[in-house]
């Protein structure tokens, strides 16, 4: 069974413990409710296309900044008002990964999407969400590493 860096492992284990799709959905919605939009001191609208996740139908944007202790902090925006899944994943990635360094995040796998959302998501949805994971990892390594 795949393992994940930092607090993300604990979050994944929480999802693995609720295989029922309805309960999993409730948990995902709870995370979506915790979503925090990117603060203005990090980015203002209109956002740069370089922060847009390719292939994500919910128009998700990601930024990465470096904290004083060398750890990384991720920020997100989800411009489509119906992008609940993207907001949920953003909140999970922020809670699970912010504070880690680039090397720790470089091991992050896109499999996280299936571990969290389950296998019953559409291919397009899965690809959009995996695009968020890939972009976060890429930003961590290239821009903040």
């Amino acid at each position: 069974m795949k393992s994940y860096p930092g607090r993300l492992q604990g979050i994944v284990e929480e999802f693995r413990s609720v295989p029922e799709q309805d309960m999993r959905a409730e948990l995902l919605i709870e995370f979506a409710d915790k979503f925090i939009d990117v603060p203005e001191e990090i980015a203002k609208r209109p956002f740069s296309p370089s922060n847009l996740v390719p292939g994500c139908e919910s128009e998700a944007y990601i930024w990465c900044t470096k904290l004083a202790d060398g750890g990384l902090k991720f920020h997100f925006a989800v411009e489509n008002p119906h992008g609940v899944s993207a907001k949920s994943l953003a909140a999970i990635l922020d809670e699970g990964l912010s504070g880690l360094n680039a090397e720790e995040i470089s091991a992050l796998s896109e499999d996280i999407v299936y571990d969290i959302f389950g296998r019953n998501i559409s291919m397009g949805k899965g690809q959009g969400l995996m695009g968020m994971v890939a972009m976060l990892r890429s930003l961590a390594i290239q821009n903040c590493g």
């Binding site: 309805d22 959905a25 409730e26 995902l28 919605i29 979506a32 390719p54 292939g55 139908e57 919910s58 489509n80 008002p81 119906h82 992008g83 609940v84 899944s85 949920s88 896109e110 019953n120 998501i121 559409s122 291919m123 397009g124 949805k125 690809q127 995996m130 695009g131 890939a134 972009m135 890429s138």
Partner: protein, 287 residues
């Protein structure tokens, strides 16, 4: 936006307004169906009395790449309290994209009274109308479907090959980046589920959302739609047209526009779309 009846559509009755839906929430002859791209959305709240039909879990065969079979469709409808005479109102997120897809599948099984709520979920929310998290349950109904008809509004790969040989019209409703094949070549990102990028030879690029007013998700009026499909791309209502995208969901939205709103008689949705064409051996591709 003008009223639906004043927009010049060939079949204006296939669209209903949010007012109409609000007035028919308790109408036993009507079933409101939410179908979304985002599978969490219905659970965060929906129109009171609306049921959910999910593309992945409800409309697809879990084993082979195809839609559900007749008996499965009958069971789905029966469980939702739908009879052959029920008026079905589809709505959803992202400009009714998946709502149009669900409607198209219901048409494959010959359900005749299918309509879309103009503006979808976005318009309903923007108007501050009531939403609920309560999932309704309806008394199971008896639903007897005819055999699924794949010949009239659905195209398969071999149909598309014959179609392009005959010089008939194809529209690719994906994004310009998908049409050009550019997106498949972006490093570090998951691909679009196809080994090759580009488009089917002769296809015209008309991204599906061009049929929509972005502010409220409503459909453009008939003159505006004709400007997109006919003046820009040269389509005519008498044309034999096949629409495709990546898996056939966006193209069912364009199918709905061409067939119902503009009155094209022969429009088919190639649901195999790019995930089939871009992975097929030996089929022609253009860039």
């Amino acid at each position: 936006m003008s009223s639906i009846e004043d927009r010049g559509y060939s079949n204006s009755e296939v669209l209903v307004s949010t007012d109409w839906v609000a007035d028919n929430l308790s109408n036993p002859d009507v079933r409101i169906i939410e179908s979304n791209e985002d599978q969490l959305l219905y659970k965060t709240g929906h129109i009171p009395g609306a049921v959910e039909v999910d593309w992945v879990n409800d409309l697809n065969d879990p084993l082979q790449r195809d839609y559900l079979q007749k008996s499965q469709f009958e069971e789905l409808c029966s469980n939702l309290g739908i009879t052959r005479d029920t008026t079905l109102i589809f709505y959803g997120d992202k400009n009714n994209w998946w709502a149009a897809y669900a409607l198209w599948v219901f048409r494959l099984f010959g359900h005749s009274d299918v309509r879309i709520m103009d503006g979808g979920r976005l318009k309903w929310e923007k108007e501050g109308r009531e939403m609920t998290r309560e999932v309704p349950s309806y008394k199971p109904a008896t639903y007897k479907a005819p055999e699924r008809d794949d010949s009239t509004i659905r195209a398969f790969r071999d149909d598309v090959l014959k179609h392009i040989s005959a010089g008939n019209q194809l529209i690719d409703v994906r994004s310009p980046e998908e049409f050009s094949g550019e997106r498949l070549h972006m490093p570090d990102y998951p691909n679009e589920g196809a080994l090759r990028g580009g488009h089917i030879p002769g296809a015209k690029s008309v991204p599906w959302a061009r049929a929509i007013n972005p502010d409220d998700g409503t459909f453009k009026n008939a003159d505006e739609l004709r400007a997109v499909y006919e003046e820009e791309q040269g389509l005519k209502p008498s044309n034999d047209v096949i629409a495709y995208c990546r898996i056939g969901e966006r193209s069912s939205h364009s199918w709905f526009v061409l067939h119902y709103l503009l009155g094209y008689d022969k429009v088919r949705n190639y649901d195999g779309s790019w995930t089939e064409w871009g992975n097929s051996v030996g089929v022609p591709i253009e860039k």
